[in-house]
Symmetry: C2
Subunit: 430 residues, 2 copies
C-alpha cells in the first residue's frame, strides 16, 4: 500500500470506510486488553517461585557476619545483599544502600529529603523560590509525577538514540542555578529503549552545573534486562566516570530487582559517593531502623551471585523477546511504508515507543480504549502529561499473553491507520 500522504482524497475516503468497518468489528468482540504498564507476565513471575523456597523454617537466617536478619538493625542493608546488588549495578558494595521494595520510593524519598533538608548542607529546596529539573522526553511518567508533586518546574530535553540532547543539558545546567536535577533512564530507556552512548555518559560526568546541589537522578531500571544474548547495549558506569571526571558527588543511581524477581517484593538500592551516603544516612536513621533484611537474604540465597541473576534474566528474555518481536512485526506489517508512524526496536527494557503523525496520539489511544485495549495515556511520557506534538505513545508488550498481545497490536495499528487517515483527509482541501 502506498503512503497515506500520497493518496488521493477518494482513495483516502475508501480507506477510511474500510478501516471503520474493521474497527467496528473489533468493537463487537468485547475486548479487554491492557498494553499500558511495564508489568511482568505470569510466566515471568513463575520464574522466581524458587525465591519462596530459598528460606524455610530450618534455615539459618544469620548473615555471614553473624547478624540475625530477623531482628532490628543494619540500616544500610546486609553485606551479602550489597555484594549481589553491587555486582548487578556495577558498583562497589560500599557505595550502596539497600532499601525496601521500591526504587520509586527511594527516588521519591531522595527528592523529598532534598526538599526538606537540602543536599550536603545546601539550602533545602523548600526554602528556594524556584527549583527546576531537566526531563529527557519522552520519559517515565512516574519520575515526572514526583517532581510535579513537589512543585518543581520541569524542562523537557529532547531524547535521541544516543541519549538526551547534551548540548542543551550542558548549557542549561551551567547557566541556571535553579536547575537541581535531571531524570535519566540511561539504559533501555523508558519508553524508547535507547541506551546512552559512551560520549553522552562522558559528557554527563563532566557537566559543570551552576548549582552545587545539582544531582543526576540515574534510574538504571533495566541494567541487566536484555532481550538478546548476542545483541546487548553497554553503558559506561556513571559513578566511576563521575569520579574520574572530578565530580564524584554528582549522581544518585537507582536500581531494583522489581523486574527480576517480583515487583513489589524485590529489593531496591541506591548507589552513590561516600559523601552522599553519609548525607543520606543522617536522614535515613531517623526514618527507619532498617529495611527488610530477611528479604535481602532471601534474594541472596536464591541467586547466590550475579551469575545466577544473569542466567535468570535469560529466562525472562526468552519469555518477552517473542512479544517484542511480534509487536514490532505487526507494526511493520500493518504500518510499514504508510508514513504515518515510527517506532523503536529496543534490545532490552520493557517498552516500545511509537510516534504517530503530530496531533494523533490522544485520538489513537482513545480509539483503542473504545475497542477494549488500554494503552498508556497519550502525553504520559511528557512532564505534566502534555506532549506538545501529541504524537508519542508507549507500548508495553510484556504483560498480555501472546494471543492477547497479537490482537491488541493489530487493533492498535488499525487505530493508527484510522486516525491518521481521517486527519490527512480533514487536512485536504475540497
Amino acid at each position: 500500500m502506498k503512503p497515506y500522504a500520497e493518496m488521493s482524497k477518494e482513495e483516502l475516503a475508501n480507506e477510511i470506510a474500510s478501516l471503520k468497518q474493521e474497527y467496528r468489528h473489533y468493537q463487537s468482540l468485547g475486548l479487554s486488553l491492557d498494553m499500558s504498564r511495564g508489568k511482568p507476565c505470569k510466566e515471568q513471575l513463575d520464574l522466581s517461585m524458587g525465591l519462596m523456597d530459598s528460606l524455610n523454617s530450618n534455615s539459618d537466617l544469620c548473615c555471614e557476619d553473624g547478624t540475625d536478619c530477623r531482628n532490628y538493625g543494619a540500616l544500610t542493608g546486609i553485606d551479602e545483599a550489597k555484594v549481589l546488588i553491587g555486582d548487578m549495578m556495577e558498583n562497589n558494595p560500599d557505595n550502596i544502600i539497600i532499601y525496601g521494595n521500591s526504587s520509586l520510593n527511594v527516588m521519591y524519598d531522595t527528592v523529598s529529603r532534598a526538599y526538606t533538608h537540602g543536599i550536603m548542607g545546601n539550602t533545602p529546596w523548600c526554602r528556594l523560590d524556584k527549583v527546576k529539573f531537566l526531563c529527557p522526553v519522552p520519559g517515565y511518567d512516574r519520575h515526572f509525577k514526583i517532581t510535579e508533586y513537589f512543585g518543581i518546574d520541569m524542562i523537557p530535553v529532547p531524547m535521541s538514540p544516543t541519549g538526551p540532547d547534551m548540548d542543551m543539558v550542558e548549557r542549561l545546567v551551567a547557566e541556571d542555578e535553579t536547575i537541581k536535577g535531571i531524570w535519566c533512564v540511561p539504559k533501555y530507556s523508558n519508553p524508547q529503549g535507547y541506551s546512552y552512548s559512551d560520549e553522552t555518559v562522558r559528557r554527563f560526568a563532566r557537566l559543570k552545573p551552576a548549582a552545587k546541589d545539582f544531582r543526576i537522578f540515574w534510574d538504571n531500571a533495566y541494567g541487566i534486562h536484555h532481550l538478546y544474548e548476542d545483541k546487548q547495549d553497554y553503558l559506561i558506569e556513571i559513578l566511576a566516570e563521575c569520579k574520574r571526571a572530578g565530580n564524584p558527588d554528582m549522581v544518585y543511581k537507582f536500581a531494583s530487582t522489581s523486574k527480576i524477581t517480583f515487583p513489589g517484593s524485590g529489593i531496591a538500592a541506591l548507589a552513590t559517593s561516600l559523601n552522599n551516603l553519609e548525607d543520606i544516612k543522617e536522614q535515613l536513621r531517623h526514618q527507619t531502623i532498617g529495611h527488610d533484611k530477611v528479604n535481602q537474604l532471601r534474594h541472596v540465597r536464591f541467586f547466590k551471585d550475579i551469575h545466577g541473576m544473569v542466567e535468570h534474566m535469560k529466562k525472562h528474555a526468552d519469555i518477552i523477546r517473542p512479544k517484542f518481536e511480534m509487536v514490532e512485526q505487526t507494526l511493520e506489517d500493518n504500518l510499514g511504508g504508510l508514513g504515518i508512524g515510527t517506532w523503536t526496536k529496543p534490545l532490552g527494557g520493557y517498552f516500545i515507543s511509537f510516534d504517530s503523525l503530530p496531533g494523533c496520539a490522544k485520538s489513537i489511544v482513545s480509539h483503542a480504549k473504545k475497542a477494549g485495549v488500554v494503552m498508556t495515556n497519550a502525553g504520559a511520557t511528557w512532564p505534566y502529561g502534555k506532549d506538545p506534538h501529541d504524537s508519542n505513545i508507549r507500548i508495553a508488550p510484556t504483560y498480555p499473553s501472546a494471543a492477547d498481545l497479537k490482537t491488541a497490536a493489530q487493533l492498535f495499528t488499525l487505530c493508527v491507520k484510522l486516525v491518521s487517515a481521517e486527519k490527512l483527509y480533514a487536512e485536504m482541501g475540497d
Copy 2:
C-alpha cells in the same frame, strides 16, 4: 538496710567503700551486655520461623480477590492483610493502609508529608514560622528524633500512670495554633508501661485544638503485647472515640507486627479516617506503586486470623514475662527501702522505667557502661535527649538471656546504689 538518706556520714562512707569494691569486681569480669533497646530475643524470633514456611514455591500467591501478590499494584495493601491488621488494631479494614516493614517509617513519612504538602489542604508545615509538638515524658526517643529532625519545637508534658497531663494538653492545644501534634504510646507506654485511662482517651478525643491540622500521633506499638493472661490493660479505641466525639479526622494511629513476627520483616500499618486516608493516598501514589504484598500474604497465611495472632503473643509473653519479673525482683531485692529509686511494673510492652534520685541517671548509665553493661542513654526519653531532672532510665529486659539479664540487673542496681550514695555523701556538710 535503712534508707540511704537516713545514714550517717560514716555509714555512707562504709557503704560506698563496699560498693566500690563490688563494682571493681564486676569490672574485672569483662562483661559485654546490652539492656538498651527493645529488641526481641532469639527465642522470641524462633516463634515465627513458621512464617518462612507459610509460602513456598507451590503456594498460590493470589489473594482472595484474584490479585497476584507477586506483581505491581494494591497501593494500600491486600484485603486479607487489612482484615488481620484491622482486627489487631481494632479498626475497620477500610480505615487501614498497609505499609512496608516499619511503623517508624510510616510516622516519619507522615510528618514529612505534613511538612512538604500540609494536611488536608492546610499550609505545609515548611511554610510556617513555627511548628510545635507535645511530647509526653518520658517517651520514645525515636519519636522525638523525627520531630527534632524537622525542626519542630517539642514541649514536654508530664506522664502519669493514667497518661499525659490532660489539663496541660487541653490548655496548650486550645490556645496555641502552632501546636500541630502530640506523640502518644497509649498502651504499655515506652518506657513506663503505662496505659492511658478511659478518661484520658475520652479527653483526647474531645480536644479542641486551635490548629485545624492538629493530629494525635497514636503509636499503638504494644496493642496486643501483654505479659499476663489474667492481668491486661484495656484501651478505648481512639478512632471510634474521636468519631463519636465529632473529631473523626484528629488521629493517625500506627502499629506493626515488628514485635509479633520479625522486626524489620513484619508489616506496618496506619489507621485513620477516610478523609485522612484520601489525603494520604494522594501523596502515597507518587511515592510507590505498592508495598510488599507477598509479605502481607505470608503473614496472613501464617496467623490465619487474629486468634492465631493472640495465641502467638502468649508464647512471646511466656518468654519475656520471667525476664520482667526477674528485673523487678532484683530492683526490689537490692533497692527496696533504700529511697534511691522508683520503677514501674508494667503488664505489657517492652520496658521498665526507672527513676533515680535527681541528677544521678547519667552517672548511673555511665558507671554501668564502664563495667560492660549498655543501657539506653540517660536523657533519651526526653526531647533533645535532655532530662531536666537527670533521673529517668529505660530498662529493656527482653533481649539478653536470663543469665545475662540477671548479671546486668545486679550491676545496674549496684551502680544506682554507688552513684546515689556518693551523691548523698557529697551533699552532706562537714
